[in-house]
Symmetry: C4
Subunit: 196 residues, 4 copies
């Protein structure tokens, strides 16, 4: 399986996910700016999900950039990640339409959690097929972000039943943690003399 086609297919699916999420923002019926108010929570949840999907696209690219071969296992681990990402529009729409209520916020956190696990599995598959001394393995180091994220999502899911706004705060905080550029892979590549 050529790496190029796997990248192109993943890009296609991620591009569609990021774009159809906006379809959950239904055009309001009134023609006054006030009619936009009920759409505001859906808009805010759309912004949050747009950032998350953007982060996944960005990191996915770097991860594949650091890998050289695509085995059958990597291919299905990749599809498994795309599966959970494809549930973002549903979870985003439900959370937004219910003004960040406990249940939908918990489901949103669950989708984040499963996507994080799927991303971790894909990473392990690639490392396994590339070897422990591989570029990706070296670049990740302790991978504290990859290990911290699922824990934070778990805490957020539980918190929805006690302090609903805490979950939103945690989702946003993790997004910002990931937004801070992660130069591990570029640095490791530079050390290996790869051209990025």
């Amino acid at each position: 399986m050529g790496k190029g086609r796997l990248e192109a297919f993943s890009d296609g699916v991620i591009a569609i996910i990021i774009t159809i999420m906006v379809l959950e923002m239904k055009v309001p019926h009134g023609d006054r700016l006030e009619s936009l108010l009920p759409v505001l929570p859906v808009f805010l949840s759309y912004v949050l999900s747009f950032i998350y999907v953007g982060i996944y696209w960005n990191n996915h690219h770097h991860m594949l950039h650091a890998s050289s071969r695509i085995s059958g296992g990597v291919l299905w681990a990749n599809l498994y990640l795309l599966f959970w990402l494809s549930l973002f529009p549903f979870a985003t729409g439900w959370m937004g339409e219910n003004h960040f209520a406990a249940g939908p916020s918990a489901l949103y956190g669950f989708v984040l959690l499963m996507a994080a696990i799927a991303y971790y599995l894909l990473q392990q598959c690639i490392i396994k097929s590339e070897g422990e001394s591989s570029l990706l393995r070296t670049a990740l180091g302790q991978d504290w972000k990859g290990k911290l994220s699922p824990l934070v999502y778990l805490v957020a899911i539980v918190s929805t039943y006690f302090v609903p706004w805490l979950a939103q705060g945690l989702y946003l905080a993790m997004a910002l943690v990931w937004l801070i550029p992660d130069r591990r892979i570029e640095r490791a590549m530079a050390r290996h003399g790869h051209q990025v």
Copy 2:
């Protein structure tokens, strides 16, 4: 017709199919986790179809990888396969919304059957244009999976009128049969000294 553009177009269509299927899962109106229950059958049928479309994408790639030229016949056989794949969202949504009732399950099996036949036709077109001694012809061997699938789908369609759950079991079983990595083409390529 360049092979690259045929692959890119097919990838685009398959990426869209796999992603818009999720739009059949309508966001529920309540904000409690129980509101998700009616969505569960649609979710399960989405999982099944996601696996099937993933298998088609995977196999489609391998088949084109083993072919060298794209004739006009191959092009239209490919569009014919994409046509039946494009009916997956409709068949999936109908089966899910009706909790795997007999009629929708039969239609789902019919779409699976027609897609399997279209895939077989595309394979024959490629072999015809590549020649009987071609890489793809050698790789397929007896092609028992390609010949078994339509029969199983036929049995499943008939079974919907007697033992509804049997059809679902057969659809799932065939998906698992196909999920088991099929190394025929890679092996044949290795024998021919091709670089995969």
Copy 3:
């Protein structure tokens, strides 16, 4: 403007058009096979449009294959063609839902007519930028198919008010005329010693 990116963008738009057309086939509410009957006309109009969009994708590829440079004029002529193709889902859905009634059938013919004209304009733009002695100009020859189509669509539009089914017959007939492989460009390329 690189030819590759124009092709990729056009492929993306055409892949989306061909796939979202199927969204006009709404999942029926009953769970019996009879519930599919009202969907049948929408399905038939979907089949017709799928063939037309497939033909446009195929011919569009051949046309760009025979051209070497992309000027600003070609770029906008291409967007103009994509604009009319993007109205296929709307026209298809309206015609299907109204069981091929006169008004929707006339609109469908109008979209076919405008797309045919846009295709002709794009062809002229490419020939103008490539020169009268270019590969595409030679390949087209008298281009009787390109000149006949708009006339047939015009006749079909007018006929919807007198003999409704005649329009459908003409739409189908023109699709079949275009389906017959058109080897002009391949032949001209072979004569010019190009590798297809």
Copy 4:
């Protein structure tokens, strides 16, 4: 980050945006041509947005063509632009369904304004990463179009409360200003001896 994948992803998102906008044109229920009348304003707003998205796609391509490296900042500036472009279908649908009323027209102008600012930011990011003596910096010159557009959109937003039709006129006028081919980048490339 390879420039190719950034282009491919942006193209995918823009292709989807330009195509799902048409889904806001709901198929009318009657089967007479008069049933199309209520759809006309949605159609007109679709035409306007199609032109704008086409312009963005065209200019985006030229801008990336003139840049050589993709930094993390450029990547997120690009996603920020795609975010505002992704709101076109929503703003277009709302404006069209309300027959160009003041509120929706103001929101439409706001989305145009934010997209123009995002485009400007992306341009600055690229110039910053390429250097003041870069091809893109030279090509832009005074960049009066880039500086004029936000001002015009601001005037249009304010005007919706006094002379509603003026806003539409300004949106259309700016689209035409941008449609006039902008040969700055090609010219600068020619001067630098680049092959376009």
